[in-house]
């Protein structure tokens, strides 16, 4: 039914609408940047056994919380004033959901920082190094989730679900190993418990990065990919 002779501009006739959408997107990217920074600082606190970094992460969480509220306000304001439709509507909805997931990731970073402070207060356990690949994997998933949103990269967004399954497996393997170590090193049981919790927080971060990927897929293509489970074979 389409006609091949019709061309139309890509900017909104309402410049206020264009500006409001741009502002919403910029604030979302700012929030993503702060969340990534908090996660990076958490890593420094945990692996360098640096309590200052842990305290910084806990303090900086407030910035992310403030931006979450601001993004909510902006999104509601856009819906109220401009009644976005089609790709505009999908972008506003996805951006508001992105902010919820970023806030949860930042909360997980705080949880890890708190557990890290407890670990730091006790003698170091060599097995901490086993957690490094899991941390790296989860952190990369967050970066790629944000990049898929920022760059409108459908394939990168789609790939996160499969990567999350790999992260789940890494978490299970790690928890099994720590549980087994507890039976042999009873003195370190509290530290092993903290490491299991931290691994679990990282697994949750992977879930939230996957949510961002699903919302990005919806924003780009209107495709619903939530709760679609992979069947082997």
């Amino acid at each position: 039914m389409s006609t091949d002779t019709i061309t139309m501009p890509n900017t909104h006739i309402l410049s206020n609408f264009e500006e409001a959408l741009r502002s919403l997107r910029n604030d979302a990217l700012m929030m993503a940047s702060l969340t990534e920074r908090n996660l990076e600082n958490t890593r420094k606190g945990l692996f360098d056994r640096d309590e200052d970094w842990c305290n910084t992460v806990i303090a900086d969480d407030e910035e992310v919380d403030t931006l979450e509220v601001q993004l909510d306000r902006e999104g509601v304001s856009i819906m109220l004033r401009f009644h976005p439709l089609a790709s505009d509507m999908r972008n506003v909805i996805s951006t508001m959901k992105l902010s919820v997931n970023l806030e949860r990731i930042a909360d997980q970073a705080v949880n890890i920082a708190r557990r890290s402070r407890k670990l730091i207060a006790r003698p170091a356990v060599d097995d901490l190094i086993e957690l490094e690949p899991i941390f790296h994997y989860a952190e990369t998933m967050v970066k790629d989730a944000v990049r898929s949103f920022a760059d409108v990269d459908l394939e990168l967004a789609r790939g996160l679900k499969e990567r999350d399954r790999r992260l789940d497996e890494m978490n299970r393997t790690f928890a099994d190993k720590m549980t087994e170590l507890m039976t042999r090193n009873v003195d370190h049981i509290p530290s092993y418990m903290d490491l299991i919790f931290i691994s679990r927080f990282l697994e949750r971060i992977g879930d939230q990065a996957t949510n961002i990927g699903e919302d990005t897929v919806y924003a780009i293509s209107a495709e619903e990919t939530r709760h679609i489970h992979h069947v082997d074979g």
Binding site: S2, H12, A86
Partner: protein, 277 residues
């Protein structure tokens, strides 16, 4: 069904009985437009329109001014025949039968396909006489039938409770929203198959608009409704399917949810998101 020249006059049955279409299974191609071109003199206004409008659903026509949506609407009851120099190619079928069939009586066609306009246009008569006007023209004089038709139509248009005690008052004393609902009542007094609405709420305040939209939602159980609107939110609220027209062409026609969430054509996306220049 459309009356032919040898049909009986309408309204011999009780107005409270169900419309024929209510009893049968809804037809997906109740109103079918086939390769339809339309010209005002030498100027072509519609280009090869093909679409099927389902029975007992609300179909919205959207598009910028001059895109042809009202022109197509006015072809459905052949109102455009009244304009000098117009001609068409292709066909429009109502329930499988061409509306251009020479055996079809045009007055009967317009009873079958009622129309509500942008500006309400009640006759300078009483509320009662506005409703029964077309029945009187058709020769119905039985007071019981006329009274029943008035009540049935005004109830159908959600106006009965507001005017039942002043049916003999002038229709021109009603508010804008009431006048528009009176026009809808007048249209459904003919027990049409289809109701065409050409921007029916554009001159109404939000409350009156909400009442008309609510009415559209109720009426679609009995009638097939085609509504032309410039209000995107109204199209999303009221319609089951939406057609986007541009420069006389049907660009996209799909379920309303699909059109306003994820349109298939870039032109549709640009128009409904306000990128249309």
């Amino acid at each position: 069904m459309i009356k032919t020249m040898d049909s009986h006059p309408p309204h011999t049955a009780s107005p409270q009985s169900a419309a024929p279409s209510e009893l049968s299974q809804a037809r997906a191609d109740f109103l079918k437009v086939c390769d339809f071109d339309f010209y005002y003199g030498k100027k072509q206004a519609l280009f090869k329109i093909n679409m099927e409008i389902p029975q007992r659903q609300v179909t919205a026509f959207i598009g910028p001014s001059g895109c042809g949506k009202s022109t197509l609407l006015r072809n459905f009851n052949r109102m455009n025949d009244l304009i000098d120099g117009v001609h068409h190619e292709g066909d429009i079928l109502l329930n499988g039968r061409s509306i251009y069939d020479k055996k079809i009586e045009i007055i009967a066609l317009r009873r079958s396909i009622g129309m509500v306009f942008q500006k309400s246009n009640p006759f300078p008569k009483s509320i009662y006489e506005n409703i029964v006007y077309s029945l009187r023209i058709a020769g119905v004089s039985n007071k019981r039938i006329l009274d029943e038709t008035v009540e049935h139509s005004l109830r159908g248009a959600a106006l009965w409770d507001e005017v039942k005690d002043r049916l003999q008052d002038s229709a021109l004393g009603l508010s804008g929203g009431q006048m528009q609902r009176l026009c809808i009542a007048r249209a459904i007094a003919n027990r049409p198959e289809i109701l065409l609405m050409d921007e029916p709420c554009s001159a109404l305040d939000p409350i009156a608009t909400a009442k008309v939209e609510d009415l559209i939602h109720e009426l679609k159980h009995q009638f097939t409704i085609v509504i032309v609107t410039h209000n995107m939110q109204q199209a999303t609220r009221c319609s089951d399917r939406t057609a986007f027209f541009y420069l006389g062409k049907l660009i996209e026609y799909d379920e309303t949810q699909k059109i306003f969430t994820n349109p298939g054509e870039k032109q549709t996306e640009d128009y409904i998101t306000g990128r249309f220049g």
